[in-house]
Amino acid sequence: MELTLEKYLVWMKEFAQKISDQKDYLSDLDSKIGDGDHGNNMARGLKAVSESLAAKKPTDLTTALKITAMALISKVGGAAGPLYGTAFLEMAKLSGQTTDLDQLLVAAVAGLQKRGGAQAGDKTMVDVWLPIVNKLKADQLTDEEIQEAVKSTKPMEAKKGRASYLGERSVGHLDPGAVSSGYLFETMLQAEVGK
């Protein structure tokens, strides 16, 4: 399952569109257990990604991944910036050696966890990334699996990020970063990236 530049660009385009469409919903989710800006943060970040990719016209995957990372890191403005940014940066770094999607995503999720220190069950985007990367490795990733992973954050009590200040009050709400990560993987399937 090789990630090509061409497929990657389609993926990012669809992801940016999905984030733009779901901006208000993501911010609403964040206002329940956070500061209500996740949709705006992500939309600002993905707009920067799209613009930067369009302007710089990368001719190889590594450059495209690095451009994505830099745009997210510098434009998102919230926790999701360094988190998604680190994930894409780790993919960029590894992409010089391999373009295998599984391996890139394994590196991405390791970066994510290093950056944020979240474990499985802490009610963060990690609760989507971890199971999805595992399913992908087992060649079993479907939209249902993605939905499943996103929904799994609802009954969790947050241990990381702003929601963690709410303690048990964070239970019963979807984690906004998990939802946006769900979109990332949905659009990855749509773009038939690994095919």
Binding site: S74, A79, G81, P82, G85, R115, K160, G161
Partner: protein, 125 residues
């Protein structure tokens, strides 16, 4: 080896205000700050943090932040910088004030860190 202080906040006004409090007791310590996103909204900016690190006249910095996402950006900035950065999970205003007072008085880093230790209030989330 000179030590400086770096303040990172989600809010531009907090980043502007904390150095004023510290400067009163630490006129000789280089204190720089980054607050808010590039658009002056609530959040943090890697670019602003990087700039604040560069603008600081010291070559080793004691860094303080308000909330966890500021810490993540601080760590990214640290990885990209050649300056040594000591990052503390301590009360932003109170601990940076203590550090500034002690740096001004010429106290060494281990002794400062001993006084900062009980001011730890975050880092687990």
């Amino acid at each position: 080896m000179s030590y400086g202080i770096l303040i990172v906040s989600h809010v531009p006004e907090i980043a502007a205000g904390v150095p004023k409090l510290l400067k009163q007791v630490a006129g000789d310590v280089s204190i720089t700050a980054a607050g808010g996103t590039d658009d002056q909204e609530i959040g943090t900016s890697l670019e602003k943090i990087t700039q604040a690190i560069e603008d600081n006249q010291a070559d080793e910095l004691l860094a303080f932040y308000d909330l966890g996402s500021a810490k993540m950006n601080l760590e990214m900035a640290e990885e990209m910088s050649s300056k040594k950065i000591h990052l503390y999970d301590t009360a932003l205003v109170e601990s940076s004030y203590v550090a500034a007072s002690l740096l001004q008085a010429g106290v060494d880093l281990p002794a400062i860190e001993k006084q900062l230790a009980p001011l730890k209030v975050k880092g687990d989330n």
